[in-house]
Symmetry: C2
Subunit: 200 residues, 2 copies
């Protein structure tokens, strides 16, 4: 958490710090990101930074939190939908796409965060992963109960697949992915690969 001083700051200055930090943490994972560079880019004295934040980690976690706050405001539109699992998932990734399009820096910061291996972040990452897996589990259980999902499949394997695909889908937004492609990918998961007599 930033110190009170940071919030008392002249908004223009605060924005400059944030902007420099977005660029740095978007370009580099936590360990390789450089406070010195952020300080240089935002034309602020090194010492000032330590008036605003405890240390590099404090700043970083704050940025991640800001980014997630913004992203959640997109994602909630998907969860608000009263529809079947596949539709909700499609909207979920669609909203992720819109977020990445509108806030590319935040998007990259979040991606870097998820595949960070810094020991300082281990605890934070584990918490996030667990929470996500539980969310999806509840979601999936509901869908199975309703008979929307093939009950013969191992739920953990389903989560694994969605996690992996969702991760890459989000990682490569802006590259090859677009809305149409997201649908196609989800179709692969929905219908499966194996050819069938009666198409659906």
């Amino acid at each position: 958490m930033p110190k009170a001083t940071f919030f008392n700051l002249d908004p223009e200055k605060r924005e400059a710090v944030l902007q420099a930090a977005w660029e740095e943490f978007a370009r580099h994972p936590f360990e390789q990101a450089s406070l010195s560079r952020i300080v240089q880019d935002s034309r602020i004295a090194k010492g000032s930074m330590y008036q605003y934040f405890e240390d590099k980690l404090d700043l970083y976690l704050y940025m991640v939190e800001l980014a997630y706050e913004q992203k959640r405001s997109y994602l909630k539109k998907a969860f608000a939908l009263k529809a079947d699992m596949f539709t909700i998932l499609e909207e979920y990734y669609h909203q992720s796409y819109l977020f990445a399009r509108d806030f590319p820096f935040m998007h990259r910061v979040i991606n870097n965060f998820w595949d960070s291996r810094a020991p300082a972040l281990e605890a934070e990452l584990a918490r996030g992963k667990l929470s996500r897996s539980q969310d999806f589990s509840g979601f999936l259980k509901e869908a199975r109960r309703k008979g929307v999902v093939n009950p013969l499949l191992n739920p953990e394997a389903i989560f694994f697949v969605y996690h992996a695909v969702g991760r890459d889908l989000i990682e490569y937004f802006g590259d090859e992915a677009n809305s149409r492609f997201v649908s196609d990918v989800l179709d692969v998961l929905k219908y499966g690969l194996q050819a069938r007599e009666e198409g659906s």
Copy 2:
């Protein structure tokens, strides 16, 4: 490529260097790996390292190459199979699992390599990705021709899904994954999620 001196080395010494390098590159991505640590751990003078290798990158790429050589000797067993696509894929991931079990350090080095973002590795990574995508493309086209794979699905989306899932499957070997789990995951891809009247 190592310099000739490296191959003239007393095998015990050479092994010590390699062992220290495996541990370092397994624990840290290229940029964060420290030559100084490797040199310390292998009880060799800093200068000696530069008698054996051009620089840090030279050593690193050599290690990745060694690891891949070993891994290929496992994977080729899958490609030698005369069976349908799903069976071959299952064997492919099974062999990946065995490799990770037998050579955990190499396995982690390869994983770190794939999600490295170091500019020095960009070219090498792009080459590898392209080659893999072409391999899979040919593979998939063949399967479609034989009617094993649902022709309504977007081939690029199929590749995307397999790439993502395969990547994570390999990344987490040793954690949650085992042979049974690999099958379950592949079943999810094969049969798809959506419930059907007649099970298969």
